[in-house]
């Protein structure tokens, strides 16, 4: 009984937006579950979608740490994603034009270092610029990166792309043979439409755990970083850069650190993509990816990490959901432009009716015990900061 009361309390503590989001996630999950049980949704494909959602969530987390926390308008998300993907692909693939055949872990390290170096290279000229100039300049430099990947055939194999990328866990002791070792299952819940769980399913399950680790680690690192004194300086820069300078902070250096951190997380999404798709091509650096990620972040709420996660799921739903529409014959046109249209309408609606996003940051920037402390012992406000660190 008391457990139920806890839930009721928890529910009424949420804002209306949070209640709405929780409700629609529950509804969405129920629809997916029905799809899975009735066999309308292939479990392997479903896990693939979860992997894509995790990938977008990673990029959204990265962009959120740049735009949401430091106010940097980075329109080169696709370039960093591509660097991560190509870095991993060129290091690990056995048919890569250069390098190739290394362990995926080494590929991960090299791809992330490459992204960090490129973030510094792009950041040095652009981070001093005014906000809207930064947007244009970063979009331009992302195009330069895409053109390099497309045209430097001797390194990247050009428009042919890179094939033969191993799975991330190939060569690991137990995990490399895990999908083959697992028994093929056939679950019959509704007669006539059995659910088959074979080797591809278990392979996808491994991929999902990989992206879950990536997302979880990034989320924890970012949450810790943004609650730290370092994160507070970034938020000050976002709201008033002159103030941060007046307080003696080297804002350029802080912005650079935030830019590099976010870009490395975007590259992490690229590394995962290379090992999920097993094929990368210059098309993956298309600027549309950048705008998908932007939609995820502004929809979720700038500066809100859980908003970024939520936005990532919504974007994948739009991206993949419109593919299903092609199966309906009564729609007289290809549904690819519909995706573009929906993304556009979504951007305009969010900016018009809820520019702060659906899940704007609430308590996540504050230590939890700081909130509790202030509620129970308000007098502590007067002489010391509850839970905060005073030696900033």
């Amino acid at each position: 009984m008391s457990r139920l009361d806890n839930w009721v309390d928890y529910w009424s503590d949420l804002t209306r937006a949070e209640q709405g989001v929780t409700g629609s996630i529950a509804l969405f999950a129920a629809v997916l579950l029905v799809g899975l049980v009735t066999g309308g949704l292939n479990p392997t494909y479903f896990l693939f979608l979860v992997g894509l959602a995790g990938m977008y969530a990673l990029m959204s987390l990265g962009l959120n740490s740049q735009w949401g926390f430091s106010g940097l308008i980075n329109f080169s998300v696709a370039a960093f994603f591509g660097i991560g993907a190509y870095g991993a692909a060129l290091m690990t693939s056995d048919s890569a034009p250069i390098l190739g055949g290394f362990d995926p872990i080494l590929g991960l390290v090299v791809a992330l270092s490459l992204a960090a170096v490129m973030a510094v290279l792009i950041g040095v000229p652009t981070l001093r610029l005014r906000a809207d100039y930064l947007a244009i300049a970063s979009l331009g430099l992302a195009e330069v990166v895409r053109l390099l990947v497309l045209n430097e055939r001797q390194w990247t194999n050009g428009s042919g792309g890179v094939r033969g990328i191993p799975r991330f866990f190939d060569g690991w002791p137990v995990l490399s043979t895990f999908p083959q070792a697992m028994p093929g299952l056939e679950i019959v819940i509704i007669l006539g439409s059995p659910i088959e769980l074979g080797t591809p399913f278990y392979q996808m399950l491994l991929n999902i755990s990989l992206v879950a680790i990536f997302v979880g680690a990034s989320y924890l690192v970012l949450r810790r970083a943004h609650r730290s004194p370092w994160g507070r300086v970034l938020r000050t820069i976002r709201s008033d850069e002159d103030l941060a300078r007046a307080l003696g902070k080297n804002t350029y250096s802080f912005k650079m650190q935030s830019f590099v951190l976010g870009s490395v997380i975007m590259a992490l999404a690229g590394v995962f993509y290379a090992h999920l798709n097993l094929f990368v091509s210059p098309g993956d650096l298309n600027p549309i990816t950048t705008f998908y990620v932007w939609v995820a972040v502004i929809l979720g709420g700038s500066g809100s990490n859980r908003g970024a996660l939520f936005g990532g799921i919504v974007v994948v739903t739009i991206r993949e959901g419109t593919r299903f529409l092609n199966e309906f014959a009564w729609i007289p046109f290809d549904t690819a432009p519909l995706r573009l249209l929906m993304i556009g309408v979504l951007i305009v609606l969010v900016m018009k009716f809820r520019p702060q996003g659906i899940l704007p940051p609430q308590r996540e920037l504050i230590w939890p015990d700081a909130i509790e402390g202030s509620e129970t012992e308000p007098e502590r406000h007067t002489n010391q900061q509850p839970g905060g660190d005073t030696n900033e």
Binding site: A131, L141, V144, L147, N151, F333, P337, G344, M351, P355
Partner: protein
């Protein structure tokens, strides 16, 4: 390809870029945000002209190899781009109070809506105006220049439009008000200028020129739903090189960026191994360098 021909091509491409950059610069200075939907406004103009030209046909005679009907289509294309921009301003931008960055992000959404609708209506494939391709002008071939009468028509039409804009800005009441507003919107407002009306006129002129530029781009290359968006970054490069807010700077920037992007093969002729595939990349790098060294551009005043 001779250098002279590259210069001729540069001139044609510059004419199209100039038409696009003037509008972007006008809107940047008066509506005060970077309009990422500007490239797709050009696409709107091009496709409106395509439909009109299909409906009215050639209308008898022709000038410079272009039937009269094409010029009707050109006017309709420019007008449609202006109408679409006005509707967008009235329905979306005007009611938003979210600062220039918010407007910038919104305009990306608007760009996707334009492009999505065009792609739904016309498909993603390339199309062409139903005009017979011409042979290069005979007497220029000995000089190594292969241009058609269509190309000449593009350059002349663009020059007429730009000249008209110059007269409008310098010698009419509306032009003076627009320049006043670009200079200082608050001051213009307290001097009794109806700034909202001027903003609307800015959209009409900027989008109209962009629409015309889109039609010419369709004539010069082909029509595709992505044509405008692909050109957008080059237009930004032109506007930034010229100096944001300076209309004459935008003309100069459009001319220079158009020339540079078409003259890229000269680099290989003089032994620098940068191929034609990097012509856009060169323009973008120039843009970033200008932003760093002289953010006010060539013609911009220090602010």
């Amino acid at each position: 390809m001779s250098v002279l021909e590259l210069v001729a091509n540069g001139l044609i491409f510059s004419s199209i870029l100039v038409l696009g950059s003037i509008g972007l610069s006008l809107i940047y200075s008066i509506a005060n945000f970077a309009n990422f939907a500007h490239g797709d406004t050009m696409t709107v103009g091009a496709y409106s002209a395509l439909v009109t030209f299909g409906a009215v046909g050639g209308l008898g005679g022709s000038v410079l190899g272009l039937p009269y009907g094409f010029f009707v289509a050109l006017l309709v294309g420019a007008a449609m781009a202006a109408v679409v921009a006005i509707v967008t301003e009235k329905v979306v931008y005007e009611s938003l109070d979210i600062g220039s960055i918010g407007l910038l992000i919104t305009s990306i959404g608007i760009a996707f809506i334009y492009r999505g609708l065009i792609q739904i209506g016309f498909g993603a494939d390339f199309t062409r105006f139903d005009i017979v391709a011409l042979r290069p002008i005979e007497w220029l071939i000995p000089y190594g220049i292969r241009v058609t009468h269509h190309d000449v028509a593009i350059v002349i039409s663009a020059a007429v439009l730009v000249g008209g804009l110059h007269v409008l800005l310098q010698y009419t009441d509306l032009g003076r008000k627009m320049r006043a507003m670009a200079d200082n919107p608050d001051l213009a407002r307290i001097s009794g200028i109806r700034t909202k009306r001027i903003t609307l006129w800015t959209w009409v002129i900027g989008a109209g020129l962009a629409g015309a530029g889109g039609v010419f781009l369709g004539l010069f290359n082909q029509l595709a739903p992505r044509m405008g968006f692909n050109l957008l970054l080059l237009i930004f490069a032109a506007v930034i090189l010229g100096g944001i807010g300076s209309i004459y700077g935008a003309m100069l920037g459009g001319f220079l960026i158009g020339m540079i992007s078409q003259l890229t093969p000269v680099l290989e002729m003089v032994g620098i191994p940068i191929g034609i595939e990097y012509s856009n990349a060169i323009a973008f790098v120039i843009m970033v360098v200008v932003l760093l060294v002289r953010p006010t551009g060539i013609a911009g005043e220090a602010t």
